[in-house]
């Protein structure tokens, strides 16, 4: 029954126009970035490299597909959660608003399975969004800008990665980025179990992300103890794969915290939905 209802959830997601908004917006944003890089990418790069030009000499195609893919990921990882929440925040509350939740809940399928099938469908939608992002960032961008060694500026300075050493890093960073987006999906589905309309969970998800991000970026000792437990702190962990050497301990810690958040959101949603009186 879980698989049957998950299949139903896919049919609903595919048929809903809002499911395509995320993919369309993502494509449009990447095209805008690509246009900007094509038109004025060299000055953007010289802004970064100018401070090193007295000690280093940069040769070859610095503004290549590898670097632009990194820039795209860095820029969009803030905005993609909204696109994810737009669909996943509607999965339970949208049914309540439409009245179909009554029909679903009177069928011989347990409420736990109804919620789990929505989490699975949300996870698959998020995966499709991430794969689409990866396709645009790695395939299309590389096709347009070519490949080459990659320079990354991080808190420890400039890291230069050889072309042959990059692809696996992107593979791993997309997996961690997916886990971060999955956490957003789980949060919005969890909030959706509490609401009777779609707007509430979507706005609340974004509100929580903004609030946690602000808490994480404030250099105030009172927040130091909680920062490492906020999922937003670990949403940019994908970047760690572009450091040299890679701090695997930090990455595993981030993965663990994101997984714990996902489990927590699923459990809360299942408990809430099982106890909920459906009066809509």
């Amino acid at each position: 029954m879980l698989l049957k209802n998950t299949y139903n959830e896919f049919i609903k997601i595919i048929a809903k126009p809002r499911s395509y908004i995320g993919l369309a917006v993502l494509t449009a944003l990447i095209l805008v970035i690509l246009f900007a890089m094509k038109a004025d990418g060299s000055s953007y790069i010289s802004f970064v490299t100018s401070s090193f030009e007295q000690t280093l000499s940069f040769n070859g195609n610095i503004l290549n597909g590898n670097l632009i893919a990194f820039i795209i990921l860095q820029m969009l990882i803030v905005h993609i959660p909204l696109l994810v929440a737009l669909v996943t925040g509607d999965l339970i509350s949208g049914e309540a608003a439409m009245g179909t939740i009554r029909m679903l809940a009177t069928k011989p399928i347990s409420r736990t399975k109804i919620v789990l099938s929505k989490f699975i469908a949300g996870a698959v939608y998020t995966l499709i969004l991430t794969i689409w992002l990866a396709f645009l960032a790695l395939v299309v961008v590389k096709w347009m800008f070519g490949s080459g060694d990659m320079i990354v500026l991080n808190s420890n300075g400039l890291v230069i990665l050889q072309e042959s050493d990059i692809f696996w890093r992107y593979g791993c960073s997309f997996i961690v980025a997916y886990l971060a987006l999955l956490t957003v999906s789980s949060l919005s589905i969890c909030l959706s179990a509490f609401a009777e309309n779609s707007i509430g969970p979507i706005v609340t998800t974004m509100g929580i992300i903004i609030l946690f991000t602000i808490i994480g970026s404030l250099d105030v000792t009172v927040f130091d103890s909680i920062k490492k437990f906020l999922f937003t702190t670990h949403m940019a962990s994908w970047r760690s794969f572009f450091e040299d050497p890679i701090n695997l301990k930090d990455i595993w810690q981030s993965i663990l915290i994101l997984i714990v958040h996902n489990i927590l959101f699923v459990v809360i949603a299942v408990l809430k939905f099982n106890k909920k009186d459906i009066t809509s």
Partner: protein, 303 residues
């Protein structure tokens, strides 16, 4: 012997401090078309939602098909079809796709052919590919009934199935329910504000008021328990009242309007009154017994 399909005992449900259902008990037997009556806010919808496990009761027990709902939820729901208030569907999907979705989780092996046949049964043949967002209220209601019947349940629960329908739609749904009973021997629980509808369709009923079940029994016997009101339209109302008063001084006779009088009497007296008036030279234009469920219902909820 009557086989109970639904047994509700001392059901109660609170929302915060508000006690929507205080003490509702009733039994629905196999093959019944069971009327579920009550004024607005009496607790009908809450009780029906409890029957379908949409709402968890605070106290009392619900047994359906001889099993406790709390412990056999999926098994019981597998054999129930229902419409709660209005059937809501995925507007962005076609009628066929909607039926496919609900059939898939209803534990039925409905094929595309079954879906087509069901659409035909409810009069929506040829509209299966159309998106539900373009459907009228009546069409959605009929699609709701198709969804209810597709997995061939033994028990059908319909909460206000004719709300918002035009007269033709009401008659269609009514006939459909009668067909379910006569052709398929389904047990139907029907909640409705249309008392005349219950009177025509149902064989048994319960009336609930202020969260409590007030009376339960056969529709015919409950309605027949009350005094008959006979309305007679005749040539001279004022004189007719005098004539009846002289012959039957204990009867309550009143002038209703125009040339119509109303008499409260025993059923056996109807032919005698008719004979008396005709013998005294009155022209009888119509003679109508008014012992209706509506009067009975009003009497019960005002007590």
């Amino acid at each position: 012997m009557n086989e109970p399909i639904i047994e509700v005992k001392h059901l109660s449900k609170k929302f915060g401090n508000f006690e929507a259902v205080k003490d509702v008990s009733f039994t629905v037997n196999k093959g019944d078309v069971f009327g579920f009556l009550g004024p607005n806010g009496a607790g009908k919808s809450t009780t029906i939602r409890c029957l379908l496990s949409l709402i968890s009761p605070n106290a009392g027990s619900i047994a359906i098909f001889g099993k406790q709902l709390a412990s056999h939820r999926s098994q019981i729901l597998n054999n129930i079809g229902c419409i709660i208030e209005k059937p809501d569907f995925y507007r962005y999907l076609s009628a066929e796709k909607n039926l496919e979705i609900f059939a898939r989780i209803s534990g039925s092996d409905s094929t595309k052919k079954d879906i087509q046949e069901m659409l035909e049964f409810v009069g929506l043949d040829g509209r299966g590919k159309d998106k539900v967002k373009g459907f009228s209220h009546g069409m959605k209601q009929r699609l709701g009934i198709a969804q209810t019947l597709l997995h061939k349940p033994d028990l059908i629960i319909l909460d206000e199935p004719t709300t918002g329908l035009d007269p033709q739609g009401i008659i269609e749904v009514r006939n459909l329910i009668l067909r379910l009973k006569t052709e398929q021997n389904k047990t139907v629980v029907l909640s409705s504000h249309q008392l005349s509808e219950i009177e025509i369709i149902a064989n048994r009923m319960v009336i609930i008021n202020k969260g409590k079940s007030v009376i339960e029994g056969s529709v015919e016997s409950l309605v027949n328990e009350q005094e008959l009101l006979l309305q007679i339209e005749l040539s001279d109302a004022e004189n007719a009242i005098k004539v009846i008063g002289m012959e039957y001084p204990t009867l309550k006779v009143k002038h209703l309007y125009g040339s119509t009088i109303e008499i409260a009497l025993e059923k056996e007296l109807v032919p005698k009154i008719n004979y008396l008036l005709v013998n005294k030279g009155f022209e009888i234009h119509s003679l109508e017994p008014k012992r209706k469920l509506e009067d009975f219902f009003m009497k019960i909820i005002q007590e």
